[in-house]
């Protein structure tokens, strides 16, 4: 069964081989003197580093070199970079600038091959040679086999390659090294010069191979590393000129390895996590730029508490755990967000500003099927242009965010099949006037200002519909009447206070016998009472003249007369007592004399109090 599947996979390749032996591709005089290939199979991303020593044996100057990939590889090719090497052969991806690579379709190559053409910076003359380092990165090229496993099973993968370098040129000498993870190797194609040393598998060397040679090999090996694939990643980069670049990343992650058959036992997973759940991954690590702050990790139903963050001056590392361990075929979705200091990423150039930030996701060894990078520029940005080191789909949108009026311009970049190698910096150039930063604060301030002004106007303005209507006038008058009544009320109260003063003076008199002091008090009280009665006249006359006061008037007048009476009686009482003291009469006699007054005073006082309360009620 196993073999059958392998064969079916190989079938298109074999089909391609029918053409290999016809002398098709003769246009070139190039010869590959030495080819070293290293294939890294330790993660889900397959990286093939090829070092080519190219010699020109023909007479023409050659300015481009062709690279060919079989179809089953070409459709998984995520990244291709060719650099001029120093000629050391084994040099890995040198930091040099990549040479321009483009897909071509020469008409004389066998079908089933995809050809890329590398343009050399200067032509390769006769007899000259150079070293070309090519890095090709593939995703989804490892096939889990078996495709469905149980929780306890390990994950086995199949990888197919050609032991001989597939090239349109003749190859003099070549070798192939496969780097496998430190684990079991189920099987590999045992060709005659295949060698397994530890976790390295070597094929070759092969010599003097004609163009388009193909020698299929298959490796079946164990790999339990996380097969984290983001089906879709939306990365939003929002620039605020107040000093922050806010990045929000929405991930839709799937475990793209061997599918889980369904049954999941937490017990097994907890007791023997590395045995009964080896193919699952529980955490992902993201490397964020230094000085990242306000990091959050959540999904649509809330915060996810299983994450940790640490950092130094060069990087910030965020370790996140999905809500549940990820088994084959399981999916999850979450959002990471963080803020970055603006000055690290935004620069000015000739009156323009540009954002310089990395393209891909910060998570290690993550394959992204589709990425959308959205750069949200501040409102009012103009002359927007983008420069990305590799081809992407690009368009513009508008996003309305906090307090925007016209919306912020958004540059959207879309790319399929993204690998960590795509984490290169890209630039967005735009023009922006710093003054427009102040629009929103100004809007807020003026908004609140007008709100308060409206409140002030509302509370100050008289917004009655009709100023001349009878009811309105009546209300005004009624208010006035009330105020007058209050005034009268106050005056009467003061009269009563004066009365109390008289009473107290009498008290003092009975205690100290100081007649003079008592008389003095009497005088002052008299004068104040006189003043008060004068004061009373004016409001009283107003009330009498006012028709609205008809209701109150009798009461007020009653109060007025009662108070007068009370005043008279008090004065009488006071005179009597003082006289009594002056005549040195006994206390009892004085009391007898004033007893009648006292009664009346008490009665009157009660009436006045009641009236006061009544008026107050009105």
């Amino acid at each position: 069964m196993k073999r059958g599947i392998m064969r079916s996979n190989l079938f298109p390749l074999l089909f391609a081989f029918a053409f290999l032996f016809s002398p098709v591709f003769s246009a070139s005089d190039l010869i590959l003197a030495k080819v070293d290939r290293r294939i890294d199979l330790t993660s889900q991303i397959v990286r093939i580093t090829t070092s080519l020593k190219v010699e020109n044996t023909g007479s023409d100057v050659v300015s481009e070199i062709l690279l060919s990939f079989p179809e089953n590889q070409a459709k998984h090719l995520a990244y291709l970079k060719a650099t001029l090497g120093e000629g050391k052969g084994k040099a890995k991806t040198s930091s040099g600038v990549g040479l321009p690579v483009k897909a071509v379709q020469p008409n004389d190559v066998p079908p089933g091959l995809t050809i890329y053409s590398v343009s050399l910076p200067k032509g390769l003359g006769k007899g000259h040679s150079l070293t070309l380092d090519v890095l090709a990165v593939f995703t989804h090229i490892l096939q889990p086999f078996p495709e469905k496993i149980n929780q306890g099973d390990i994950q086995l993968l199949l990888f197919q390659e050609s032991a001989q370098y597939l090239s349109p040129y003749a190859v003099k000498a070549q070798s192939l090294t496969l780097k496998l993870p430190e684990a079991r190797i189920e099987s590999y194609s045992k060709l005659e010069n295949a060698k397994l040393q530890g976790s390295e598998l070597k094929y070759g060397p092969y010599e003097n191979i004609p163009p388009f040679s193909y020698l299929p090999i298959v490796i079946h090996y164990e790999n339990n590393l996380p097969f984290a694939v983001a089906k879709e990643l939306v990365r939003e980069i929002e620039i605020s000129h107040w000093g922050n670049v806010q990045i929000t990343e929405h991930y839709e992650i799937i475990h793209a390895g061997a599918q889980s058959k369904g049954e999941f036992s937490r017990l097994d997973y907890q007791t023997r996590p590395y045995l009964r759940g080896a193919s699952a991954f529980r955490r992902l690590v993201a490397k964020l730029p230094p000085r990242a702050h306000s990091v959050y990790y959540r999904d649509e139903i809330g915060n996810i508490s299983t994450s940790s963050l640490w950092g130094d001056s060069r990087k910030t590392e965020l370790e996140i755990e999905p809500r549940y361990p990820m088994f084959g075929g399981w999916k999850t979705a979450f959002t990471i967000g963080y803020g970055l200091p603006l000055q690290d990423f935004l620069f000015g150039l000739d009156g323009k500003r540009f954002l310089n930030i990395s393209f891909g996701a910060p998570i290690y060894e993550l394959v992204i099927d589709t990425i959308f990078v959205k750069v949200v520029l501040p409102e009012g940005s103009k002359d927007i242009s983008v420069s990305v080191p590799f081809p992407v789909k690009e368009w513009q949108e508008r996003k309305i965010s906090h307090l925007d009026i016209v919306g912020r311009p958004v540059v959207v970049l879309e790319k399929n099949n993204v690998v960590p190698e795509h984490n290169e910096h890209f630039q967005v150039y735009y023009k922006f006037n710093s003054l427009s930063m102040l629009t929103e604060p100004f809007m807020l301030i003026s908004g609140f200002f007008f709100l308060f002004v409206a409140c002030i106007v509302y509370s100050r303005a008289d917004i009655s519909i009709s100023k001349s209507s009878a009811s309105y006038l009546a209300k005004l008058q009624w208010d006035e009447v009330q105020a007058t009544t209050q005034l009268i009320h106050g005056i009467i109260s003061r009269c009563l206070t004066a009365h109390d003063k008289l009473e107290t003076s009498l008290h003092d008199l009975s205690r100290t016998g100081d007649v003079q002091a008592c008389k003095a008090t009497r005088k002052s009280v008299d004068s104040s009472l006189k003043d008060l009665s004068k004061e009373l006249k004016q409001p009283l006359s107003f009330l009498q003249s006012c028709p609205q006061a008809a209701q109150i008037l009798p009461k007020v007048e009653e109060l007025f007369t009662k108070e007068r009476e009370l005043q008279e009686k008090l004065v009488l009482k006071h005179t009597t007592v003082v006289d009594g003291y002056e005549k040195k009469l006994g206390g009892r006699e004085i009391e007898n004399r004033i007893a009648s007054y006292q009664q009346k005073i008490t009665a009157l006082r009660r009436e006045v109090d009641d009236l006061l309360d009544l008026i107050d009620e009105i």
Binding site: G262, E263, I400, Q482, G490, D609
Partner: protein
Amino acid sequence: MVPKARMPGASSHVIKYESVIHEFDPYFNYRVTQFLTKNGIYDFWNWFDDRTWYPLGRVIGGTVYPGLTLTAGTLWWILNSLNIPLSVETVCVFTAPIFSAFASWATYLLTKEVKGAGAGLTAAILLAMVPSYISRSVAGSYDNEAVAIFALIFTFYLYIKVCSWGGYTFIINLIPMHVLLCIVTGRYSSRLYIAYAPLVVLGTLLASLVPVVGFNAVMTSEHFASFLVFIIIHVVALVYYIKGILSPKMFKVAVALVVSVGLAVCCAMVAVLIALVASSPTKGWSGRSLSLLDPTYASKYIPIIASVSEHQPPTWPSYFMDINVLAFLVPAGIIACFSPLSDASSFVVLYIVTSVYFSGVMVRLMLVLAPAACILSGIALSQAFDVFTRSIKFQLPHLSDHSQAGEGSSENVVPNDSVKADKTEDTSKERTSKRSKKKEKEPVEKPLSKSQIKKRLSVLPLETSVIAIILLVLLGAFYVVHSVWAAAEAYSAPSIVLTSHSHDGLHVFDDFREAYAWLSHNTEVDDKVASWWDYGYQTTAMANRTVIVDNNTWNNTHIATVGTAMSSPEKAAWEIFQSLDVKYVLVVFGGLVGYPSDDINKFLWMVRIGGGVFPHIKEPDYLRDGQYRIDSMATPTMLNCLMYKLSYYRFVETDGKAFDRVRRTEIGKKHFKLTHFEEVFTTHHWMVRIYKLKPPKNRIRGKTKKSKSKTSSKTASKRKGLKRNPF
């Protein structure tokens, strides 16, 4: 002049966890709000939800009280049209705190009408902290109560302010009672009529516009009181009117005539009404309301209502926990309301008396009691402070002479000398503030007027007043400390995320969301999930999967079917679930970490509810000598039922003994296998376990022909019996 300072939304709570929706019902409200904001109001009214009550579905637009949802939806819409893009979730989370702030303000207004601004402010402060209300108004508690309490208090306020707006059952019965009280005590006035008559007419009209109420507004007995009083008030108004235009003699004749005719007509009407009401099975009252009137009703007849812990009668400690010292202040407040008794204060007294009764019936209605308790305690405290500070003022003569400014710092009496001076200017504002001003004026004129002698008698000794004030302040401080503690520790937990403190720090139990996230990402969109109804709302909202029953509990039979399945043996349960097209079964299990409100503890209710409809499930089968137990003494029916098996599947392998930390015992049956279900997911702390129904063909494959035919006949019988009980 009136102190304008009102309590800022003091109920807004410290976000200790995160901005997340709490509990069960709020998730439903959240989901409805999401739908409303996405699809608009017309789709909302016509919304038939097929993701719940499978296969029946639920007409959400016609069965949901839309007030809360529309409020939050409008808030969200306003914010978004101002280009403030808040998510629906954020708006929902913060709706409750915002409205609790409004409620505090409404309490101030209401109490001010009753006893003046001082009492109003005290009551508002008390309400801002009362634990009972905090428990329902923390951020994230997105439920009707949060907005309803504000609406309730504000309606009462408006009603007292002579103008009103329709509320619901409690309001619609309390207000007629008050009107009746006013009429009986001879307090009828045209203002009462103006307040009440439009309330009934407009309120009923507006309420019947809401689909869920509809014709219930005139059909059910809950509204009977309001219409009866409506008639009475008209009769009384007519009588007063006739009294006004007729001479006393003529009036007597007219009364005799009208009373004799009226009695006859009334008797006939009442007879017809009684006959109508009696002909309906529940006497026209809905179950929940009946259990209010008769606390034993629910436990006798409706296990679903009785099974909810919120519907149990409260215990004394819960009173202390929820309203704390207010419980002791309320009687004092009632006394204060009687001196003097006004329309407003009689209303408040009526309010507290009814709410005390209702809170005694159901824990949930403690929430209605809380504002009443706050208002009366506010009155009591304010009056007490008033008396004590006045006593102190009389004892310290140099204070009482002229400077009133320093008086009553704990109260808010406005300095009065200036009031008099500029009296003429503020005439326009006079009317509103007059009552309070009068109150404040009294102490000033007291030393002068004669009534002051009377007051002087009620003055307490200086030392006593000082000590009393100190004690009152201590009481208040105790209340504040208790409330803060209750808000922080007891009531702010969202119940969906649990935490525990251990020696190595805080430990978070986020199992529910783990399970819901797993369901939402790793099952098919149309898969049906069966669980006890408590988790229905959360499953639809967070996992977006179709559920069989949810917290709405409108169909008792359907819930009983799930209860029956849970209490049946594995095979029978499988058949029931299969007939309902269920693919996953979700159980909540707390035995590993000691989470007490799990399904095993709720299991007896499943048995009771199931047994109520399907008589072959008998409660005694699950009890050993009347005791509910899951250890080795448990009955075989218990040990073989689905709930037991799903909860304890492979539990023994965790510690070798299968010790259940909630029940504090070793379980009865430790080693068993599942034949019709397979475990597909268990959360980190085993709190949620999800099982998948094995497909039928697997079962048939290994069996003989004979058993095959048996199964098919079973399936046939079950298909026919989907609606009715198959057993």
